[in-house]
């Protein structure tokens, strides 16, 4: 059993290290935009293409991700499910992570990316990868 608070930056860095294309939404996105609020989970909308889902699964494996199952079962996310537009409420080694295929009004990654204004690369050699809000 590991007890720890969420580690937002570390989770984002794992996703970026695996070159996952995603947009940060929800409370963390609000904080990144300057809102003085707090939250305890990280919400992302991911690109649901097969190649990106494969990268996402690698990242989720590194994060020891499993569904937040109240009965204690260990259920791991799978590619086919992540390619859909549903919500995946996961618990990881960096805290709660909600992986969302679409959010309000049915908007997916491609719909959101045009309005995302911050991109950060984890290191100078991965300029094309990063996290966005």
């Amino acid at each position: 059993m590991i007890r720890q608070p969420p580690k937002f930056k570390e989770a984002l860095e794992v996703l970026a290290r695996h070159h996952v294309d995603f947009v940060v939404v929800g409370g963390v996105a609000a904080v990144l935009a300057g809102a003085p609020i707090s939250t305890f989970d990280l919400d992302i909308v991911h690109d649901r293409s097969a190649t990106n889902v494969a990268r996402l699964l690698d990242a989720l494996t590194d994060l020891d991700a499993r569904y937040r199952d109240l009965t204690g079962r260990v259920l791991r996310p799978e590619a086919r499910a992540l390619e859909g537009d549903g919500h995946h409420l996961l618990l990881t080694s960096c805290g709660p992570l909600d992986v969302l295929g679409r959010i309000g009004l049915g908007r997916g990654y491609q719909d959101l990316i045009a309005d995302s204004s911050i991109e950060r690369s984890v290191n100078s050699r991965s300029a094309s990868s990063g996290w966005r809000r």
């Binding site: 059993m1 590991i2 007890r3 720890q4 608070p5 969420p6 580690k7 937002f8 930056k9 570390e10 963390v28 904080v31 990144l32 300057g34 809102a35 003085p36 707090s38 939250t39 305890f40 020891d64 499993r66 204690g72 260990v74 618990l91 990881t92 080694s93 805290g95 709660p96 911050i118 950060r120 809000r133």
Partner: protein
């Protein structure tokens, strides 16, 4: 303002947070909007880089975990 990193201790982040809020209030700008929102907090957050804003949030959750260490916000059970 010095760059802050994810390794900063929660308590230090709180002190840094309070120092920033007090500094923002010293600017003698209107403190509250009509809806009661503390504008100084927003001004201060907007003065930070996105990475610093994330560190503020991290400092908050770390502080909460430290204060409630017997009932942390997150429990992660590793599979065998």
């Amino acid at each position: 303002m010095a760059d802050i990193d994810s390794g900063i201790a929660g308590r230090s982040a709180c002190l840094w947070y309070l120092a920033g809020v007090l500094a923002a209030r010293d600017l003698a700008l209107p403190r509250d909007a009509d809806d009661g929102v503390d504008i100084t907090l927003i001004r201060w957050m907007l003065s930070l880089s996105p990475e610093q804003r994330l560190a503020v949030l991290q400092g908050f959750v770390d502080s909460v975990a430290e204060l409630t260490h017997d009932s942390p916000a997150t429990e992660v059970q590793r599979s065998a």
